[in-house]
């Protein structure tokens, strides 16, 4: 096969970082080897890119040979009796559930969108709304095949130390070419979803702990504009796998609706959001959402399909365009339960003081994970969305660095898939001795330092 690349503008999902690179889309292992040879021949670096759903600069690198995974997208084997699925790295989370749900299985961990590839999900070690119960995707792998920069493929299992470096290694510790994932057995395609409005941080944490014992999924929206006694108010959703008809396992039952509230075509919603995407309107929208949440559905349980509950971000196609032209950054920090409230309260107070409030806040519960680049803690994470404009960009990065300081002081962690602001000094404090151990594995899998990303350079993950 003749492998052809083209110069392409590669963008982080948040649209704040972009670079031109020579994009190739290999379809087999030999293509990867050819690209590694081409990189050596042309003295270029190799960038690994899944579906490009990382928000910051994890999947961009100027002038690199960019290796997109999307055409390496076959499910290689599926056993509906054991739930073990073997797939190539470019299979998406959407492909996974479509392949297995009719047999009564669901991916053990899914992100808020179904578009990331399996390879990207493993490289970033994604988590979902069940992180407190199921951990990260890396904890559900039977094995993975990774190609080193010489072209040799190694099968790694969870008991190997290398596995702990490659999972979450941000695509800098070899090319993940395929993996075996243990899917989760589900009784139906539906969840029982319970909604509760909470009026303060006190209630947020209290209700979270109440449900963390038995819920399968748990997530809360936080109004980042609320102050004083109302600070931390929001809406918690807890969900449990529901018993139900086998018909709910069919893809038709899962499909997301074409309209919002039965009226507005989904394709135009981002334009409406763009009009509202300013501080005053968002303050009002957040307050209204909370008020409505206290009267509509509060304290009630309803059935929702797995797809509708899991992939909220996919409800509105191209929702990120509402942040054009400057884009946005996602900021997610993970803090131990003892100090989470202090950190999040102070992060939001800082935002309000600077008039740089996040337009969206999402609180989740987590558990520790065993990987070298790990974001899991026995605690909570708060994910925030900040609109970036030419006039606020500098102040926003300053704010992020101050928020980083709070997180690090509290023994917290970060998540590379969403990062745009970490500095080398932050990374060193976060990872401690794990950083050197991880670099050791990087040197083993890629002694020439061929695999590079802008994120790796910016954060100092890659040695200068």
């Amino acid at each position: 096969m003749k492998l052809e690349g083209r110069l392409a503008r590669l963008c982080g999902y948040g649209m704040t970082a972009a670079a031109d690179a020579h994009l190739f889309q290999p379809t087999c292992e030999d293509d990867f080897r050819a690209l590694l040879r081409l990189a050596r021949l042309t003295s270029r670096k190799v960038l690994l890119r899944g579906a490009g759903r990382s928000y910051g600069d994890a999947a961009i690198l100027p002038e690199a040979i960019a290796v997109g995974l999307e055409r390496l997208n076959r499910v290689l084997s599926w056993d509906p009796t054991t739930g073990l699925l073997v797939a190539e790295a470019g299979v998406t989370i959407g492909d996974l559930w479509r392949y297995t749900l009719q047999d009564g299985w669901w991916p053990p961990v899914v992100s808020g969108t179904m578009f990331p590839t399996l390879g990207g999900a493993i490289a970033m070690n994604i988590h979902g709304k069940n992180a407190f119960r199921a951990g990260t995707i890396g904890e559900h792998l039977e094995w993975l095949d990774v190609m080193d920069s010489s072209g040799a493929v190694h099968r790694l299992t969870p008991d190997s130390a290398a596995f702990r470096a490659v999972v979450g290694g941000a695509g800098l510790t070899g090319i993940i070419v395929r993996a075996a994932l243990r899917m989760k057995r589900v009784p139906s395609g539906d969840l029982r979803v319970y909604a509760q409005a909470v009026d303060s941080w006190d209630q947020q944490f209290e209700v979270f702990e109440r449900f963390a014992g038995d819920a399968d999924y748990l997530v809360s929206w936080v109004d980042c504009f609320a102050r004083g006694k109302s600070a931390g108010r929001g809406l918690i959703h807890a969900a449990w796998y529901a018993e139900g008809s086998p018909a709910t396992l069919r893809a038709e039952h899962q499909d997301l609706p074409d309209t919002i509230l039965g009226l507005v075509p989904k394709s135009v919603v981002w334009r409406v959001l763009k009009l509202l995407n300013r501080r005053a309107a968002m303050r009002l929208l957040n307050a209204t959402k909370y008020r409505l949440g206290t009267v509509i559905g509060n304290g009630k349980t309803e059935h929702q399909s797995l797809v509708a509950f899991s992939f909220l971000l996919d409800y509105v196609p191209n929702w990120r365009w509402a942040y054009l032209p400057g884009g946005f950054i996602q900021y997610q920090s993970f803090v131990p339960k003892e100090t989470a409230r202090w950190v999040f309260e102070n992060q939001i107070a800082l935002q309000q003081e600077r008039r740089l409030e996040s337009f969206l806040g999402v609180l989740k519960r987590h558990r520790p994970d065993p990987f070298l680049i790990s974001h899991g803690v026995d605690g909570f994470s708060l994910a925030l969305d900040f609109k970036v404009t030419p006039s606020n960009r500098e102040r926003l990065w300053e704010l992020a660095h101050e928020m980083n300081e709070l997180v690090l002081e509290a023994g917290g962690r970060f998540y590379l898939a969403k990062d745009s602001t970490l500095r080398p000094e932050d990374l060193r404090r976060w990872l401690g001795p794990n950083l050197e151990e991880w670099r050791g594995w990087r040197r083993r899998f890629d002694p020439d330092g061929l695999l590079v990303s802008s994120l790796g350079l910016r954060t100092g993950l890659i040695e200068p």
Binding site: L7, A8, D20, P62
Partner: protein, 242 residues
């Protein structure tokens, strides 16, 4: 001014090109400064360490342009803006017809531009973004008796840039032609120019509009005067003292 992270300025060792390179560097861009005179480039690069990267190249060696362009993109880490500012305007006597001089004018002003901007156009077309700036001249608007080949070279550059603009319009790439009037540069030092513009002022005006496709004069009066001059019949134009 729109921010360009990575830029190439061809003809950056003096005059307008130098001023544009400095202006971009001050605004935070990484600039590859391309010119023939290495000593001038090094001096320029030293004024903005890390921001201005020198690349020695003679634009009349068009066969080397593709390699030099690729090197420049690698040095800059990509490309968002290219400015072709190399120009040659020798003294030409009122009765002189010097083919060697005239061919050199075309080599620098037109052939060098085509060799460099074709590379940029192809790259930007694929990537779906980018800005191309060509420095034309009001002298390209009419054929004057004083500088036949220079006038023709700038007219050719204007037409070439217009064609690029029309080709790349649908690909999200902007192509801007700037037509400065008299400017105080080394190239014009031998002329006694009145009301000449400082290169620094011109550079600021050019970069403010670099992303706007079209032909631009640098002053309102030029726009007005040259709109009139362009439309004068030859029989009238040849009687004017220009």
């Amino acid at each position: 001014m729109k921010r360009y992270e990575r830029a190439i300025v061809v003809g950056a060792s003096s005059g307008l090109g130098r001023a544009i390179a400095l202006h971009l560097a001050q605004a935070g861009s990484t600039v590859v400064a391309v010119a023939r005179r290495g000593d001038r480039l090094r001096e320029l690069a030293d004024s903005s360490p890390g921001r201005i990267l020198p690349l020695v190249h003679d634009v009349t060696r068009t066969e080397e342009a593709a390699r030099a362009f690729a090197d420049a993109c690698t040095m800059a880490g990509g490309l968002d803006l290219i400015v072709y500012s190399a120009g040659f305007m020798p003294t030409v006597g009122a009765t002189e017809f010097n083919t060697e001089k005239d061919l050199r004018i075309f080599a620098v002003n037109v052939l060098g531009a085509i060799a460099w901007l074709n590379q940029a156009a192809e790259r930007f077309q694929q990537a779906g973004h980018g800005a191309i700036v060509g420095i034309g001249s009001v002298a390209g608007d009419r054929g004057r008796r004083g500088q036949p080949a220079y006038n023709a070279s700038k007219a050719a550059l204007h037409a070439y840039l217009e064609a690029l603009r029309n080709r790349l319009y649908a690909r999200g790439v902007s192509v801007a032609t700037f037509k400065p009037g008299p400017m105080r540069t080394e190239m014009t030092a031998h002329l006694s120019l009145r009301n000449a513009m400082d290169p620094e002022v011109a550079a600021a005006k050019i970069l403010a509009k670099a992303h706007v496709s079209g032909e631009h004069y640098l002053s309102l009066s030029h726009r007005f005067v040259f709109a009139v001059l362009r439309n004068l019949p030859s029989s009238v134009f040849r009687r004017l003292p220009v």
